[in-house]
């Protein structure tokens, strides 16, 4: 890579990080389309660069969530058994799956993220949950300090088995596509296990690092984590995510996030077209 290309890669990655943070999706799902369409990077190298970027952004964000007691460490550690197993499977499958299918799946996950953003406008607490037996023996119940409500909110978990299975799928897609699959992780904890939204989001973030590390080790061994590409991309996405989260806390209305929905729809359609072999240029 020439210095000019380095700078361009860094700049695009910063942009992907910012938009990802503002839109509430990870940087990976935006940086892979950018690398493959704008720079013509091989999808496996793009995935290798994305997966290490994800470790950086999720671990960085996890620090504050863990300190503020929003993350449920036990829920996270237990479900990481499923996500890391899935991620190893996904990374193995990535070597044999046709790239076209990878593009179509990326488009599908991005579409799901858009749907989640549109439907998730009000953050409410789940109704009182009676913990299931598995949840009780794993001691998954806890409490977190809710700043907006100004009190400690106790919560419990249920349907642990179904949550675990969903985490296997989330881990598989993460390892296959080089993304965090935070959308699926949040869906499993918030929708299925009925943990509060803030706990689900924080715990998902905590788990993404370990999930990504499971497949990143495999990509590294294959030579798909190339420093010449991954260095500017990881630094850029990390810088962009930090910047984006700063901007986000200044925004009064979280619905501003919806401004970014059209961008994600365009990127999803671009990926779908690429996967189906249609030569349609929406971007670059």
């Amino acid at each position: 890579m020439t210095p000019g290309a380095d700078l361009a890669l860094f700049g695009i990655s910063v942009l992907a990080g910012i938009i990802g943070a503002l839109a509430g999706v990870g940087g990976g799902i935006l940086v892979i389309p950018a690398l493959t369409t704008i720079f013509g990077v091989d999808i496996h190298l793009a995935i290798g660069a994305s997966i290490v970027s994800i470790i950086a952004t999720s671990s960085g964000a996890a620090v504050a969530y863990v300190r503020d007691r929003l993350t449920n460490l036990r829920v996270g550690m237990f479900l990481e058994v499923a996500t890391s197993t899935g991620a190893v499977g996904g990374a193995l499958a990535a070597a044999v799956v046709a790239p076209q299918l990878l593009y179509v799946l990326l488009a599908a996950v991005l579409g799901l993220s858009v749907l989640q953003q549109v439907s998730r406008l009000g953050e409410e607490l789940p109704p009182e949950v009676v913990p299931s037996r598995a949840a009780a023996s794993l001691r998954l119940a806890s409490s977190y300090p809710d700043q907006r409500l100004g009190r400690e909110v106790p919560y419990a978990a249920r349907r642990v088995g179904l949550g675990f299975v969903m985490m296997l799928v989330a881990g598989f897609l993460s390892g296959l596509l080089g993304i965090g699959s935070g959308v699926l992780k949040v869906l499993a904890m918030d929708g299925v296990m009925r943990l509060p939204m803030k706990v689900s989001t924080a715990t998902s973030n905590f788990m993404i690092g370990v999930t990504a590390a499971a497949s990143a080790g495999i990509y590294l061994g294959r030579g798909d984590v190339d420093a010449r590409l991954a260095a500017p991309v990881a630094l850029g996405v990390l810088a962009g995510a930090l910047l984006g989260s700063r901007i986000l806390v200044r925004l009064r209305n979280r619905q501003v996030r919806l401004i970014f929905v059209p961008i994600m729809v365009v990127v999803a359609l671009q990926m779908l077209a690429k996967g189906l072999g249609l030569h349609v240029a929406f971007l670059g």
Binding site: M1, P3, D6, F10, V52, I55, A56, S59, G60, A62, V63, V66, R67, R69, T71, L73, R74, M77, F78, E80, V81, S84, T85, A87, V88, L92, E128, V130, P131, S137, L138, A141, S142, S143, R151, E152, P154, Y155, A156, G209, V210, A213, A214, A216, G217, I218, L220, G221, R222, G223, V225, D226, A227, R228, A230, A231, P232, A234, L235, L238
Partner: protein, 133 residues
Amino acid sequence: MSGPATTPHADPSAQAQTDELRLVVARVLLVGVALSAALVLAGLLASLAVGWNGSLVGAAPGGDPTDVGALAEGLRNLRPQAIAQLGLLTLILTPMTRVAASLVLFAIERDRTYVVVSAIVLAILLTGLLVIR
């Protein structure tokens, strides 16, 4: 405010142990990300000066640091690509270190269930890094 079934930490010493785990986990993640970002940045900046396969100590251009031997050789010659690659490796090792640290703390607490859980996760991560290609 809360029913007895969902009261989180009836035992105050359990709360203190969880708080210690939180501090250790947060510290490991912060130090790991900061260290790897510094190494990757150093490699990237050095590459702008001497090129990815160049050397800060003036050695002849070398190959890609794809395995541990080549990485060590590249680091000895201060090659930008090797410095950045070490940073990326540090990044991948950060969540693994976090899991290992949790395992130790759970062991000190004699929390058997979560010692087993952390050990399984650590085994999967190490298998991915060292065994599977």
